[in-house]
Symmetry: C2
Subunit: 606 residues, 2 copies
C-alpha cells in the first residue's frame, strides 16, 4: 500500500513490521534482516534464519514478544544521515546486518543522498517512515501473523533465499475479523477451487501448456448455455454470425497495424512455405477476431441499405501472457470471446449505440449482475495528440456517447485519456466477489480500421464511404466471464445454466422405477437430470448434492410414487415444496426458457 | 484411365488422341508434339505451337479434319524397336519432334529396352497401344473437343509451356451427351460455385492463407444448425461435451505417437520459452482432437460405473494439406470435426457399437442421405503383422463388428487390410453428386491409445483396467459435410437449416405493414425471415428468391392482408398453397422442430 491511500493504517502496518523484526530478533538473536514493507492487507518482513527452519509453529511465541513491545510504548525516534556519513555509521548501528548494508551501499551508488533510521527500543532500521509516535498506539488485537513463505533477496533467484513472515493488520480487531471472514469466503468461493470441485475446467501445463484450458463436461455446459443465450439475444438484435480461422498470414496484421506493435502479446509465428518455390510465410495464431471480420465485410459490395451490418463470432483467440501472470481462468492464453463488429453509417451511430447499451443491460439483468458502472473513456484535453483519426469525428463521437448515456440515465463516470488510440470507448466496471472493480467488458468506437482495410459502402448519393466500426463483447470471454460469475454466484448456478439441473434421490429401492421414468421425461425435454443411486445414506446424498450445488433435488418416496408427484428441495432455499410431477416439469421448462434466477447471487461480500 | 478399366473405351480414347494430333499437324505443319494419353473422361494431347496462339475457335476446323481421318478408315500399324535401334530410327521417323526424341532418350537412359510405334495414315507416334484396328471404328459423334489449357513439358515449371487440347470421348453419341448433361449439372451445383452464389464461404489466400475458410453469415447458419442437431442427438445418446484448445505442446503428440510419424501433415511448430531460463518448447496446432480428449479422461479417477464415458467436441483441427490438393471446402487446412471418443469396457462394446450405428442411421435419415454403404475394414490374413495390439482382442473385435452389422441387416462389404493400425473400423461410403464413392465418415476401434496414455478405470473387482476407445464422427467435418450436402441438395436446403427460411414478397405498398408484422412474428419465433422490399418487379422478386433457393416464399396481396393469411410458394414445388397466418407459423415451427425435409434431395445424378 501507499502512504496516501490511508496514512493512519500505513503507519500502523509499517510500525508493526518493525515490532515483528524486533520480536524475531529477541528470540533468534543471530537472524539477519531483509526488507519489511506494509502491504495492501498488512505487512511482511524477510529474515535470514541461517540453518534454523522457521515455521508458523513459532507464531504464538513471536506474537507474545510483539505484545510485550507494544505494551512497552516504545517511542519511534528518527536519525538522519547523508550519503557521505551513512556507510561509516552503519558499522556502528548494525555491524552484522549484511543485507541492510548491501542495500544501503547500492542506494549510495545509485545517487541517493539522504538516509533516515528509526529506532524504537533496542531496534533500529533504515526507514523513510513515517511511524506512529510510540508502539502503544498500535492496535494490540488488530494484527495477526499469517503465513511463512520463501523469498529471494532482491527478488532474484541468484540471491540467497530468505524467510518471509506475512501478517494481516487493521486499525481494530473488528476490522481484522471482518477481513478474515471475507478472505475465508473468498477462498471458499475462489473459482480455481470451485472449478476443481465442480468439474468445470482442468489445466495440464506439462502436456498441453500453461494457460490453455481443457473445459470439462460441466464447464462446457455453462459455456454452451451462455453461448446459446448470446446467440438468441444477438438474433433478436439483428446480428449475423460468422466463423473465422484461428490462424492467419502476417499480412493481415500488417494491414490492421497490429504488427509489429502487438507482437509481444502474440504466440510466435509458424514459418512455412505454401508451395514449392514460394517464399516462407509467417502464420500467426489470432490474438483478436477483428481483422478477420473486416475481411468478411470487405468480401462483398455493401450499400447503406445493408448497414448496420453486425458480424458476431464466439471466436477463440490466443495471447501469450507471461507465465507468472497466468491465474486460473482469469488470465489465460486461449480465450473465447463474445465478439461482434458493427459496421455502420454516421447517421446510424446514435441509435445503434443506444440499442447496444440496452442489449448489455438486458444481458446483465438476466445474470442478475447489478453491481456495475460505466466509464466513458475519452481522449481528454491533455493527451489529444496521442489519438489517431479525424478531430471532428472524435469530438462528435465523444459528445454522442455522453448524450446517449445521459438519456439512458446510466450510472457513469468519465475517464480522461482512457480512450483507445482509434476511438472513444465505454468500459463496464464490475465489482467482484471481494468488492474490487474489474473491467469486464467494453464498447469501442473505431474510426481507423475501416481506413486500414479500405472498407466501403455506397451511400444514398452513390458515393463510396468508409463505415464506422463498433467493437463490442458484452459477455467478455468465456474464461473471464465464467470465472467471474462462478465466484459471484458462489458456484451455485441457476437452473438454466447449471451443469446438472435436477438430481433425483429415491429413498428406497421400490421408488427406482418411478425415479427412472422421471429422469427419462426430463431428458426427453433436454434437461440435465441424474439419479443418485449411490449406496450412500439419504442424508449423505442430500449433502453430496448440496456440495455439488445442484439447483434442484427431488426426494422420491412412497408418497411421491403413489401420487405421481415430487418433493422439491432448491439449493440454498430452506423450505421444500411438494407438487405434481406435471407441475414440476412445467416449472423447470419455464425456468429454462425464461432463464429464471430464483436466488439473488451471493454478489460482492463487502 | 487404365486399359483394364474398360479396354474398348481405352482403345477408342487412345486412338482418338492420335487422330487429334494428325489433324492438328495437318493444319499446323510446324507443330511439335508432347504426350497424348487417354483420361477418365476422354483424352488430351500437348502441342508446341511456337508463336501461334491456339484457341478453341479452331475446334471446328480441327474436328472437321478429325472426321475426315475417321472416314478414311486408316489402319493402325505397329512397328517395334529395341533400345539399341530406336534412337537412330527416330531421326528417320520424326526428325523434328524434339520433345518425343528427348523423351525416348530419357527412357533409353532409364533402361527401357522395348519400344513400339503406331502409324495410321501419315501419322506416327511412340506408343504402347493397343489401338482400334482402323480409324473407321472410332465413334464419329462420340467425342468433342473440350478446352485448351497450358501445361509444362514433363510437368515442370522449368520446361517450356505447351498447349494442351482436352477432349471428352465415349463409345457413342448417347453416352457423350449423357456425360455432358451430367457435367453441366455438376458444374451448376459445384459447391464452390454455390458457395459463392449463396454467400456460404469465402477464401482470402493472400491475407489469411489458402485452405482457411472464412464462413460467411449464410454458411454459419448451416454450420450452427447442423451443430445444434448433433448436440441434440448426442445429448439423447448420453454424450458429454468438452472444449479443448487448438494448440498443444509437442509432448502430447509424442505420447500419442503422432510425432514424429504424422509431422508432415501438420503445420510447423511455434517455438517459445514458457518462462525465463526455461528450455524452448514446441507448440503445435492440433491436427486431431483425440489426444486432448484422452487427457480429459485421464484428469479424474474413473470407475466402471462411469463408463461408457462419451466425450464429444465439434473441434477445429489444422492439417497442412499441400497447396495443389486444396479444393473448395472438400480439402482444406482448417476443419471442424463432429468428433467424439467413447471410453468403455469390453463388456459394453457390443451394445455401444450397435447404438453408435443406430445414431449414424438416424442422422443420415434426417438429412435424407440414403445412398451409402458400410465397409468393414479389417486386418485381413496377409497383413496381420502390420497391425498393433493384442491378437485375441483384434479377432474378437472384428467378429463383433461383423456380428452387429449382420444383426442390424446393414448393407456392408469387407475391406481386407483396410483397418487402422490401432484397430478395425467401419467406413461409411457415400455416393456424391457425380455418383463417385467417398468415405465421408468412420467409426474406429482403438486398442492402443488407452495404453499410450495409461488410461484406467476400476472394474467391479477393484482392478485397474485400460478402457477400449471408439472414435466416431458421423457428420465428418463441417467443411466436408456441408460441401457434400450442398451439392447433393443442389444448394436447396430444407427449412430447418436454410440460411433464409422465409422470404416475404408484398405485392403492393399497402401490404407492407402486414408483411412487417409477419416478419416480426417469425423472428420472435427465432425464424430467419426477410422482406423483399427491393424495387424489382414481382416476377423478378420471385426469380431472385428462387435463385437464392429460399425454401419458403410468401406472396402477400390485398386478400392475404384482409384475411390474415398467406400464399405460400415452396422452392421446387409447383403448386402454391393458401393458408391462415397461424397455420403457416405452425407449419414452419413443426418443420423446424422435426427437421422435416419436404423434397427429396437431388442426390446422385447417375
Amino acid at each position: 500500500m501507499e502512504y496516501q491511500d490511508n496514512p493512519t493504517l500505513y503507519k500502523i502496518r509499517h510500525s508493526l513490521a518493525h515490532v515483528l523484526a524486533q520480536a524475531v530478533q529477541k528470540i533468534h538473536p543471530d537472524v539477519k534482516l531483509g526488507f519489511g514493507p506494509p502491504t495492501s492487507t498488512g505487512f511482511y518482513y524477510d529474515f535470514d534464519f541461517g540453518d534454523h527452519q522457521f515455521s508458523d509453529k513459532e507464531f504464538k511465541a513471536v506474537t507474545k514478544e510483539m505484545m510485550k513491545i507494544i505494551n512497552q510504548k516504545q517511542e519511534f525516534v528518527k536519525t538522519e544521515y547523508t550519503n557521505e556519513t551513512v556507510v561509516a555509521a552503519l558499522e556502528d548501528i548494525m555491524p552484522t546486518e549484511t543485507f541492510k548494508k548491501e542495500n544501503i551501499k547500492n542506494l549510495v551508488d545509485r545517487g541517493v543522498t539522504d538516509f533516515s533510521f528509526y529506532q524504537n527500543g533496542p531496534f533500529i532500521d533504515l526507514c523513510k517512515g513515517p511511524h506512529v509516535a510510540h508502539t502503544g498506539e498500535l492496535p494490540i488485537k488488530g494484527f495477526k501473523l499469517d503465513k511463512v513463505a520463501g523469498a529471494y533477496w532482491l527478488g532474484s533467484e541468484k540471491n540467497p533465499q530468505l524467510t518471509r513472515i506475512y501478517a494481516v493488520a487493521f486499525e481494530s480487531n473488528e476490522e481484522l475479523r471482518a477481513f478474515m471472514d471475507r478472505r475465508r469466503i473468498a477462498e471458499k468461493f475462489d473459482h480455481k477451487k470451485l472449478g476443481k470441485d465442480l468439474g468445470i475446467f482442468h489445466f495440464d501445463s506439462e502436456m498441453v501448456g500453461a494457460g490453455l484450458t481443457l473445459w470439462l463436461p460441466n464447464g462446457t455446459v455453462i459455456r454452451d448455455e451462455i453461448e446459446n443465450y448470446a446467440r438468441e439475444i444477438e438474433f433478436r438484435y439483428g446480428y449475423k454470425r460468422v466463423v473465422t480461422p484461428h490462424i492467419t498470414k502476417d499480412k493481415l496484421y500488417h494491414t490492421s497495424q497490429h504488427l509489429p506493435a502487438y507482437e509481444d502479446s502474440m504466440y510466435p509465428p509458424m514459418l512455412l512455405k505454401d508451395g514449392e518455390g514460394e517464399e516462407q510465410t509467417k502464420y500467426y495464431l489470432k490474438p483478436m477476431n477483428c481483422p478477420h471480420h473486416h475481411l468478411i465485410y470487405g468480401s462483398d459490395q455493401r450499400s447503406y441499405r445493408d448497414l448496420p451490418l453486425r458480424l458476431a463470432e464466439y471466436g477463440t483467440c490466443y495471447r501469450f501472457e507471461k507465465t507468472g501472470e497466468l491465474s486460473g481462468l482469469i488470465r489465460v492464453r486461449a480465450m473465447t470471446m463474445n465478439d461482434a463488429h458493427i459496421y455502420l453509417t454516421e447517421e446510424q451511430f446514435e441509435e445503434e449505440f443506444k440499442s447496444t447499451i440496452k442489449m448489455y443491460q438486458e444481458l446483465y439483468d438476466t445474470f442478475k449482475l447489478t453491481e456495475y458502472s460505466f466509464r466513458l473513456s475519452i481522449r481528454g484535453e491533455e493527451n489529444k495528440h496521442k489519438f489517431k483519426g479525424d478531430e471532428a469525428m472524435w469530438t462528435k463521437a465523444e459528445k454522442l456517447l455522453a448524450k446517449v448515456m445521459d438519456e439512458l440515465e446510466l450510472n457513469y463516470f468519465v475517464g480522461e485519456g482512457e480512450a483507445a488510440f482509434y476511438g472513444p470507448k465505454i468500459d463496464i466496471q464490475f465489482k467482484n466477489l471481494m468488492g474490487r472493480e474489474e473491467t469486464v467488458s467494453t464498447i469501442q468506437v473505431d474510426f481507423l480500421s475501416g481506413q486500414n482495410f479500405d472498407l466501403k459502402y455506397t451511400n444514398e448519393a452513390g458515393e463510396s464511404v468508409t463505415p464506422i466500426i463498433i467493437h463490442r463483447a458484452p459477455l467478455s470471454t468465456h474464461e473471464r466471464f465464467i470465472s467471474f460469475i462462478m465466484e459471484y454466484y458462489g458456484g451455485a448456478f441457476p437452473t438454466w445454466c447449471a451443469p446438472t439441473q435436477v438430481s433425483i434421490i429415491p429413498v428406497a429401492d421400490d421408488c427406482m422405477e418411478y425415479a427412472q421414468a422421471l429422469a427419462e421425461e426430463l431428458k426427453a425435454n433436454y434437461m440435465r437430470a441424474i439419479i443418485d443411486d449411490s449406496n450412500n445414506s439419504f442424508n449423505k446424498k442430500i449433502r453430496n448434492n448440496t456440495v455439488q450445488k445442484i439447483p434442484n433435488m427431488l426426494i422420491i418416496g412412497a408418497k411421491e410414487v403413489e401420487e405421481n408427484s415430487v418433493t422439491l428441495r432448491r439449493y440454498g432455499i430452506e423450505e421444500q415444496a411438494y407438487m405434481s410431477r406435471a407441475d414440476f416439469i412445467q416449472t423447470m421448462k419455464d425456468e429454462v426458457v425464461n432463464r429464471t434466477m430464483l436466488r439473488e447471487p451471493m454478489g460482492s461480500i463487502i
